[in-house]
Assembly symmetry: C2
Homo-oligomer: 192 residues x 2
């Protein structure tokens, strides 16, 4: 999506250690009008799929998911990160590895809010190795929900998570910007 690629080129910041910061408009300060435009694009892509619920993960997914959901006119459910060892029987849970923070945590969703008959679109800001997305897919499937697809703002395509989920797990993944490579010196190169 050109609008997004241009914005990443303009306002994204690259740091050593494979870090692309977009915290001026995506995940610390949120440019609400801009993210709503991305929501419109997700609706163009998934609007005819019968989606009745949007699933995301705290914290940075929540705002984006809400602005996307406004176009679909459906509720958002956000998975919570939990450090508790005992997972209650009232929730579905899944393990997610955070490469940024170097640890594994459980994500949980109350059984009340996800179940059979739900047609779910998963929304998140980033997709790299795909650990969070795999966790959410697994959790939704445990709940008996159908995962219609995933809508991602920025995919680091060179990390392979997106293609694994598309090809090995058979889940439709639509990323509005796909990064082919990036470096502090050379900036961001998008796929295609």
């Amino acid at each position: 999506m050109k609008l997004l690629e241009d914005r990443i080129r303009r306002d994204g910041k690259i740091f050593e250690g494979d870090v692309l910061k977009v915290d001026s408009f995506v995940n610390h300060q949120i440019d609400v009008g801009f993210i709503s435009e991305l929501g419109k694009e997700f609706y163009r892509l998934f609007g005819d799929c019968g989606i009745n619920k949007i699933l995301t993960i705290e914290a940075s997914g929540i705002g984006i998911a809400c602005l996307v959901a406004a176009h679909f006119n459906v509720p958002v459910v956000f998975a919570k990160k939990s450090k508790s060892i005992n997972i209650s029987a009232d929730v579905y849970s899944s393990k997610v590895e955070s490469y940024t923070h170097g640890k594994t945590y459980d994500v949980i969703v109350s059984r009340e809010f996800l179940g059979k008959g739900d047609k779910v679109l998963i929304i998140d800001d980033f997709l790299a190795k795909g650990s969070a997305l795999k966790g959410l897919i697994s959790l939704a499937k445990d709940a008996g929900a159908e995962v219609v697809g995933a809508g991602i703002i920025i995919e680091k395509a060179y990390q392979g998570g997106g293609d694994y989920i598309r090809n090995e797990m058979g889940v439709r993944v639509e990323s509005l910007a796909r990064v082919a490579s990036m470096s502090v010196a050379g900036g961001v190169v998008f796929c295609d």
Copy 2:
């Protein structure tokens, strides 16, 4: 606000230990259309105050703040919870006590996203003793921003945090539902 009070009476759940759960429409599953209606009410209350930024705190404030901000056409900045002992020089920080989780944590906002000239509306889901709100007000003032007011969905008025912030700190606080008392047996009683 009658719409909200009716919804709390219908879908809110009271548990021992002074717990009012509204996670079916506010802070786990988010009823996006309904929260957007609350956003319209906040815009009616604060729309003529020259607000250029909405400030909230992760995680449950973020979705609400984004849906409110869509009416104001301004960006959201969300304060992040941090457990790190060393707070970087690039951020404003403040301490917040969580009574629910029984611990104190730092909340931080990057200096890039808050500063002199900003007229800020703080948005959050709950106000009880007011620790999170006091922390956000203090952080915004450190940044040199003007706190125009705070918009809260549910205030537990009997805990006194809201009145302290109104009367002792001189900040305008508008809560769409003010709980006078509640109990498992008696349900929720609203103020007025």
